[in-house]
Assembly symmetry: C2
Homo-oligomer: 601 residues x 2
C-alpha cells in the first residue's frame, strides 16, 4: 500500500501541466454555471435555506479532488440525497428551524464517517447487497416522489403530506389558491426543459456549433431557463404578484460548523445516515466506473468510499448537507473536457466566488423555475420500461423492483430501500434454498449425462443419479435430504444413489451434516451412496473430515466412471446405443420430489 493509493492527488498531480490546467479550467467554468442554480434547487428540495446548497458545493469538491479516484466525477448536492435528507431531518425537527439545519449537518457528518470507516475496512462490497433492480426501482420511485414534491412550487400553492397520496390530495385541495403568475413562469420552463433535453443539441449542431460544444451547451438548458426566469421576475415585477423567489441569501463563505454532540439526536439519525451513506456510494460509484471505462481509467471503490465520506464530512463541517457524485454534473464535466479532479477544485472556487459576490443576482430567481429544473431532471431518472424488461427476464427480480417502487412511493424512501434490500436477499436465499435437482441418464453414444425429463437417455436399473445444481449450504441442506428420501421412497428397487456435483461450489457444515445423515440413513436402508464430479476445492475440504471414510460408496472423478464401475453392462450398451432409452415424457420420478424440474432443467 503506497501513500498515493490513499491520496490519488499525488498520482495525477505529478504530471499536471498547463494543458491539463486549461482543460480543467474550461470544464470548471461550465460546471460552476450549471451548479449554482442546481445547488439552490436541491437545497430547496431538502427543505434547507438556499445558501446551504452553495456551501455543500465548495469544501466537499476540494476534499474530493484530494481523495477521489475518479478523474471526472463532480460531487455536490444531488436530488435523491436531498429528498432523503428532508425525510430524515423532518423526523426530528420542523423545516425552517435551526434544529432542522443541525439535523442535516449531522446527517452529513455521520454518513461521511460511515463511508470513511467502510472504506478503511474495505467494506465497499456491502453496497452490492442492493441489487440492480432494487436500485433502479428506488431511483424511479424517488424520481416520482421528488417530481410530486416540487409540483406545489410550480403552482404556487401550499401543500404537504406524509406520502405521495397525501401530497397529491393536499395539492388538489389547494387548487383554488393557484397563483397563475407562478404557473405562467413555471409551465413554459417545464416545456422548454423537456424540449431542450432532446431538441436543443440538434438545433445547436444545425447552427454550426461543434459536437462537444453543442453537447455541453445543450445541458445548460436549466441555466438558461433559470436566468430567463429571473429576468421575467424583474421585468414584470412578479414578486409583488405573489411569485415566490429565492430571496435574500447571506453573502459570504460558510464558517466551521461543529454541531453539539447530543447522543439521543445522533442515535435517532443513525439509521437514516446509513441509508444515505449507502445510496450516496451506489449513486456515484457506478457512474464513476462508467466514466472511467470510457477513458480506460480505473477507479478504486474502497478509496471512493473514503473520498465520498471525507467530502460529506467536509460538507457537514462547513454548513452543508450530504453530497455525492451527481450524474448530470459529472457528464457535463466529462463532456466539457475535464482531465483531473482539479476541475472540481476550480469549480469550488467558482461557487465560493458566487457565494461572495453573486448573491444579489440570485435574489430574483423564481422558485417555480428551479422546481421545473428539478422535475425535468428527476423525471429523466424514471424508467418504467425497465420494469417490463425485468419481468420478462425474472419474476423474482421483478418482485423486488416492484416492491421497492411501491413501498418507496407509499411508505417513503427509507422503508423503500430497506424493503428492497430485505426482499432481494430474501428472494435470493429462497431460490437457493430450493435448488434445482435433476435425475440424469446417459445420452446414448456419448459420455454425457442429461436430465431424464428433457432427453432420451439410458438409465441403469438399481442406480439413481441426482445432479445437484447448487452449492450445498444451510438453507438447502434439509431440502436435499427430503429430495433423496423422496426419490428413494418412490423407487424401492434402488441399490445405489449417485450425487453428481459439478455445480456444487461450496459445502458448508450444514450441507456436510446432511450428506452424513443421508449416508447413514441410506446405509440403514441398504442403499449405497456415491458422489461424482466433486470439485477440487470442495474435495480438499471433505478430506479434512471423516465423511469420506464413512461414505458407503465411492467418489468418482466423473459420472461415466461411476456408471462403468457400478453397472458396466449398462454403460457399454449406452455407448454402443443398444440400451433401453427412456422416453423423456415418461417422468420416471414423481415431480414432487425433484422440485423445479419442469420449470428449470
Amino acid at each position: 500500500m503506497r501513500l498515493s493509493d490513499h491520496l490519488p492527488i499525488l498520482q495525477w498531480g505529478r504530471t499536471y501541466n498547463g494543458g491539463t490546467f486549461a482543460n480543467d479550467m474550461v470544464a470548471a467554468v461550465i460546471v460552476t454555471v450549471m451548479l449554482i442554480p442546481q445547488s439552490l434547487a436541491y437545497a430547496m428540495l431538502a427543505g434547507l435555506p438556499p445558501q446551504v446548497g452553495l456551501y455543500a458545493s465548495i469544501l466537499p469538491l476540494i476534499v474530493y479532488a484530494i481523495f477521489g479516484t475518479s478523474r471526472t466525477m463532480a460531487v455536490g448536492p444531488v436530488a435523491i440525497l436531498s429528498l432523503m435528507t428532508a425525510v430524515a431531518a423532518g423526523k426530528v425537527a420542523e423545516q425552517g428551524t435551526p434544529e432542522y439545519l443541525t439535523a442535516a449537518i449531522i446527517l452529513a457528518i455521520i454518513s461521511g464517517l460511515m463511508l470513511v470507516v467502510m472504506g478503511i475496512f474495505r467494506l465497499g462490497f456491502l453496497a452490492n447487497f442492493l441489487s440492480h433492480p432494487v436500485v433502479s426501482g428506488f431511483v424511479t420511485a424517488t424520481g416520482i416522489l421528488i417530481a410530486v414534491s416540487q409540483l406545489k412550487y410550480l403552482l404556487g400553492v401550499q401543500a404537504s403530506g406524509h406520502n405521495i397520496i397525501e401530497t397529491l390530495a393536499s395539492i388538489i385541495s389547494h387548487l383554488g389558491d393557484v397563483n397563475w403568475y407562478t404557473v405562467a413562469v413555471g409551465a413554459p420552463a417545464v416545456a422548454f426543459l423537456f424540449w431542450a433535453r432532446k431538441g436543443l443539441k440538434p438545433l445547436l449542431l444545425a447552427l454550426g456549433l461543434k459536437e462537444n460544444i453543442a453537447g455541453t451547451l445543450a445541458r445548460s438548458g436549466p441555466v438558461l431557463a433559470v436566468a430567463l426566469g429571473g429576468v421575467a421576475v424583474v421585468a414584470f415585477g412578479l414578486e409583488a404578484k405573489g411569485v415566490q423567489i429565492v430571496g435574500d441569501i447571506p453573502k459570504g463563505l460558510p464558517g466551521l460548523t461543529v454541531p453539539q454532540f447530543d447522543p439521543g439526536l445522533w442515535q435517532s439519525l443513525l439509521g437514516s445516515s446509513a441509508l444515505i451513506a449507502m445510496i450516496s456510494f451506489i449513486e456515484s460509484v457506478s457512474m464513476a466506473q462508467t466514466l472511467a471505462a470510457r477513458r480506460r481509467q480505473r477507479i478504486d471503490p474502497d478509496q471512493e468510499l473514503v473520498a465520498l465520506g471525507a467530502s460529506s464530512l467536509a460538507a457537514g463541517f462547513s454548513g452543508g448537507y450530504p453530497v455525492t457524485g451527481g450524474f448530470a454534473r459529472s457528464a457535463v464535466n466529462f463532456d466539457a473536457g475535464a482531465e483531473t479532479p482539479a476541475a472540481g477544485a476550480f469549480t469550488a472556487v467558482g461557487i465560493a466566488l458566487a457565494a461572495l459576490f453573486l448573491t444579489p443576482l440570485l435574489y430574483n430567481l423564481p422558485q417555480a423555475v428551479l422546481a421545473a429544473t428539478v422535475i425535468v431532471a428527476v423525471l429523466g431518472l424514471v424508467d418504467l420500461k425497465k420494469l417490463a424488461h425485468t419481468l420478462s427476464y425474472s419474476k423474482r427480480d421483478f418482485a423486488a423492483m416492484l416492491g421497492t417502487i411501491l413501498v418507496t412511493l407509499l411508505a417513503g424512501v427509507e422503508l423503500g430501500v430497506t424493503t428492497g434490500i430485505i426482499v432481494s436477499i430474501g428472494l435470493h436465499l429462497y431460490v437457493t434454498s430450493k435448488p434445482h435437482f435433476a435425475i440424469v441418464g446417459q445420452v446414448p453414444g456419448t459420455h454425457h449425462f442429461r436430465n431424464v425429463n428433457r432427453h432420451a437417455v439410458v438409465i441403469p436399473k438399481h442406480i439413481v443419479t441426482i445432479r445437484i445444481d447448487e452449492s450445498l449450504y444451510f438453507a438447502n441442506a434439509r431440502f436435499l435430504e427430503d429430495t433423496v428420501y423422496c426419490v428413494l421412497g418412490n423407487r424401492p428397487d434402488v441399490e445405489h444413489i449417485v450425487l453428481m456435483c459439478p455445480a456444487v461450489n461450496h459445502i458448508d457444515v450444514s450441507g456436510l451434516e446432511s450428506l452424513e445423515a443421508i449416508n447413514r440413513r441410506l446405509k440403514d436402508a441398504g442403499v449405497t451412496l456415491h458422489l461424482s464430479e466433486v470439485k477440487g476445492p470442495v474435495m480438499d475440504r471433505l478430506k479434512r473430515t471423516h465423511f469420506l471414510e464413512e461414505l458407503t460408496g465411492n467418489v468418482y472423478l466423473n459420472q461415466f466412471d461411476a456408471i462403468v464401475d457400478l453397472d458396466y453392462d449398462c454403460a457399454k450398451s449406452a455407448i454402443e446405443k443398444t440400451g433401453d432409452v427412456t422416453d423423456p415424457a415418461s417422468d420416471p420420478c414423481p415431480s414432487q420430489c425433484i422440485a423445479g424440474v419442469r420449470e428449470m432443467s
Copy 2:
C-alpha cells in the same frame, strides 16, 4: 390435498387395533411417570408455578395426537423453551406475579399462531435459515445458561443476574448462605444422574433385564432420583431445615384461559414469540425426522408446523406455556414401543390423573433434585467438541457457531439466536459475493481445461478463459466486472475473453446487467467476449433478452469448441502435446485480480 394429510389421525386411526393399543399404553405409562417430575422442573426453570408444567402436558399432547405426523414424538415443556419463556416474560413482568403467568400464556398463543400460519403457507423452509452450527452453538450455550441458572437451587441460595457472569457472581457472593441440607440432597442426585446416564443400563442388563426394558428403565433415573429425594425430605424432616420443596400444587384440571387482548403487551412479546416458534420447530422437526427414519416412516414438515402450533395454542388456552417435542421424552416413547400418536393422548390422560389425584405426593419433592435432573439433562446437550470439528472444516461456520455461543452466554438467548441467523446469512452472502474465479488452460492431450495456477496447461495467446465458480447475482455482479477489467488491464495483448460457466446455476438481472456492461466495455476496448458451457436453464433465460444479439462473440457448448474456433492451432498443438505448457507456479495473472485462487482452486 386430502383431508387426511391435514388430520393424520385419519390415517393411523383406520388401522388402530388391540395390539397397537397395548403397545401405546405401555409407552404412555412410562412417559407419564417420567414427564411428571420433568414438567415440574421445567415450570420451575421457566419461573412459573409447578402446576403450569403439568397443564402444559395435558391438552397439547391430545392436540398433537390429532394433527402431528410423527408417530413417536412426545410433546410438552422442554428446557430451552422454558428458559426462553423466562427471559421473554421476565421482560414484561416480575416472576411470581399474575402478569408473568399471563405473559407466558400469551407467548404460547402467539408462537402457536405463528407456527400454524407458517404451516398453512408452507413456510417451513424458513427454519432452514438457522444453520446447523448456529443451532448447535445455541443449544450448547443454552445448556450452559440453564445449568448455571439451576445452581442456586442445588445450593439453596438466592441469586439472580441478567447474564451468566452476573448470575455466577451473585451465587459466589451468596456462598456464605449455602444450605448444607440442600447440598446433601442435591449433590448425590447430580452424581447419581451423571452415573446413570452411562452406568445404569449395563448394570440392568447384567441383572438379566431385556435390552429394551433396561434401556427404558435406565432413562428413568431422574424419576428414581426425584422419588428418593421426596422420601429423604419426609424421612429426615428436611423442610424444617430449610430445604426448598415443591409445596402446594392446586388440585384439579386447568380451566379455559383466555388472556385479555392488550395490544401493547402482545406487540412487545411478538419478537420473542417468533424466536420461540422458530426454535420450537427446529428442536422438534429434526428429532421427528430422525425417529421417523429409524422406522422408515416420513414426516411432513409443514404439517408438523400446524401440529406444533396447535399444541402451543392448546397450551396457551389451558393455562400452560410454549411446548414442543422433547428429546429425552420422545426417545423414551420410541424405545418403550409407542406405535402411534395415541400414546401421547394416553400420556395426557395420565398427567391429568396426576393433576387430579397425585398433587399431595408431589408436595415433598425437593427443588434441589428437580434442579439436578435439569442440570444433568441440559449438560448432555453441551457439545464443545463440535466447535473444534467445525473449525477444522470451515472457519466461516466456526465463526457463526462461536458468535452464537458467546452472544447467547453474554447477552442472552434472544440476541444469541438473532445474531446466529444474521451472521450465518451474512457470511454466506459474503462468501458468494466474492466468488472463486480461475483462469484456465487446456490440459495437454485432453479436452479438459484446468486452473493455470494448479496445473501445467496450454494457454493460447490473445485468449483468456475465466471460469466462474458461482451463480451470478447481485452480490457478486460488480466483483465479476472488477475481475474482468483487472485481468484485461494486466494483459494488454488479449483479443478474446471467454467466460466459462459450467457452475453458474442462475444469472439474475444484476448479473445480466454486469455481463451487458462487460460486453459493452470490452467492445469499446476492441476485445471480444464469448461464453462457454452455459447451462440449459440459464441459456433459456438469456434467450429471452437482447444480450445474445449484442454479445460481440459466441456462446460455445463446450470450452474445447471455443478454443478450436478461436485458435485452432493452439487447440491442435495441445491435443498433440506440442504446445508451450505454462508452469503452474508462474502465476500468469496477478492474484489480486482473481481472488481466492490460492486458497480455493
